[in-house]
Subunit: 432 residues, 2 copies
Amino acid sequence: MRRVLAAALDEHVGEEVTLQGWLSQVRRLRGVAFLILRDRSGTAQVVVRDPGEIERVSDLRHESVLSLTGRVAPRGDGRPGAELVDPALEVLAAASEPPPFDLFRPTLELPLPTLLDYAPLSLRHPRRRAVFEIAAALAHGFRESLRHLEFVEIHTPKLVAAATEGGANVFPVGYFDRTAYLAQSPQFYKQMMVGVFERVFEVGPVFRAEPHDTPRHLNEYVSLDAEFGFIDDHRTVMVVLRTVMAGMLDAVRDEAARALALLEVPMPALPDSVPTLHFTEAQRLLQEMRGEPGPSEDLAPADELALGAWAKKEFGSDFLFVEGYPASARPFYTHPDPSRPGYTLGFDLLFRGLELVTGGQRLHRYEDYLAALRQRGLDPGPFSGYLQAFRYGMPPHGGFAIGLERFVGRLIGLKNLREATLFPRDLSRLDP
Amino acid sequence: MRRVLAAALDEHVGEEVTLQGWLSQVRRLRGVAFLILRDRSGTAQVVVRDPGEIERVSDLRHESVLSLTGRVAPRGDGRPGAELVDPALEVLAAASEPPPFDLFRPTLELPLPTLLDYAPLSLRHPRRRAVFEIAAALAHGFRESLRHLEFVEIHTPKLVAAATEGGANVFPVGYFDRTAYLAQSPQFYKQMMVGVFERVFEVGPVFRAEPHDTPRHLNEYVSLDAEFGFIDDHRTVMVVLRTVMAGMLDAVRDEAARALALLEVPMPALPDSVPTLHFTEAQRLLQEMRGEPGPSEDLAPADELALGAWAKKEFGSDFLFVEGYPASARPFYTHPDPSRPGYTLGFDLLFRGLELVTGGQRLHRYEDYLAALRQRGLDPGPFSGYLQAFRYGMPPHGGFAIGLERFVGRLIGLKNLREATLFPRDLSRLDP
């Protein structure tokens, strides 16, 4: 007997079919039991009238896995849709104990630690599952947008020899008789690969040993990275990024429509031309808003929120580019702004007031790298593999990195990034 | 001036265009210099006749990055195709020193350590680049085949709390004030996610602390994982795997045709019905071939080669399933064969005599897990997160894992898996 999904049951009225899934709920009335069965497509109602079978299903725990073969009939209560009637019931796997919370309720009202401790179970709730259907669609949209632009997918090592890019926030790994480190980003490798493929992208985990316990930090997350050559400047990168953002949002609309509807996600406004502020303009604007001078080296989360609100009010845009960050706020490989000493061709893309993407033009001349390292007091030795690419000719290039969980969280309006991660890793959490 | 790619030059005869890329070669004859410029599409010839410009290009080192704007003409030597004539030349980035080997030769004849030490440079060779264009196409085919079957992409943690699955071969990580481990596979997590999405896949790095220095071992590689529920038995998994294999090979044909042609890759024969041997039949066959009893617990690499040759000879197939491995050769979560004590519903797929894929049906009942762990003398404590999924009902399920580098290497005929990895990690190599 061919399996039919719950959501397609009403296409089979009058037929004998098999439903398979998890027992979500049992309601027993006089002489009849109603089962709600959940599968990946949704839920279906099953009507049991045989007295012996009613006893049997009444003993089943929620989340037991069942296979039910029976006749499909229009719903008996006159509501639209179909139900499965008088099925033969096979228990594929009985739940060993009752679930500690009800998965059949419209929302899971659980404290975050409980939600995460019980992730294998709580993720079965349709609202939790929907979060990750949206994540999968975003990742797909990222890849397809870039493949369409002739970018090549790469896989770069997560085990690296030196804690180079960001200083101290790296995890050490016992690697045979020496110490390796977990890559904080594929930055160096994706740049090197511009010399090979010109245009590359990678979807993969990155690791940050930041000892921060906040709703916006994860110690392991998924980074969507792109890098490409033969650009004019960072503005070329921003144009490609806007195209990729549009492709990601389109993919969510196309592939995760059910999840969007269930979570009532307000789809963002992404103008053809995303409003763009220079860092110094952003500072001036923030000072006007606050009536007092603010910090000048970087933007604080509150600043980003204020700028996001401004972009929405002034331009109806959920996205805002801030370009030209000061050199002091950016890594050594960032290309300086030739027309504005002290500032760079680095940018951030804010999404609803949250830094979602960091990008920019990079240095591309070997001498410039040596000078930039020297200026920051860094020894070029540990960078020799990276510098090799520049020693042998690299085009002007740039790229960006999108935090997948951040995008998911901000799009849906989750309060904590941990809710946008199947199995989050933080200061205190390594399991499940 | 819009950039034109080298491979499209002959579509622009008579026009003024810009070529951008790496200086691959310079030949200077009387009163003329011929440059070969390489970009991501291929190479193009550029003719320089101005005496001053000839001096200038003669000073340029190979691999310098150039932008050349000039007129496109039919090739002056009467051969088909076009060339760029009398261009204005801009040096985007000069190579700082001559490359230590010639990238313009048809093949790179380098010892493996040199090839890998100079990966940022050696990967620019078209034959090296082609390897990874094939890898990208295979990964794309894997994902699209599974998406088509309604599998959902997941991202599971690479930092895990316990060294559970495979015993000792894990890398320890200094994780704040405790020790974490790098995941050897997403096995436990993908199984748990069958309870959520029914059908899942993941493309990501896995880490094996195996102290083996052989051409077939890597300490970090890309695993293509799939897992799904509501199967009949391992044969359902094998059917899906065959579909995925076909989709991957189709993707290579469609998306990496140039790379296949350049490397003269013989595309494999994948029959609609892949020949399948039970492990005991494979043993009997090997004993017949050798005329002596062989090992009975697992297949050695030489055994796999012999079986691969047999499948090719008998069935014209480059693929061979071996099913029913002994329980002693498989992990605790492998489903036993109910009709054959001591054997399992685990299988391998051999590709040209190499184990390319491992898969099977898994246990799905909580009690069976407790018994299996007990039988192997394993404490269920560290498995509690994993076991939670089974405590609350899991369908019969199974899946498989494909080693991406193995597929690439075997498809192309590379002698060492390191050649199928952009930046391999082994006992002695963490850089570049």
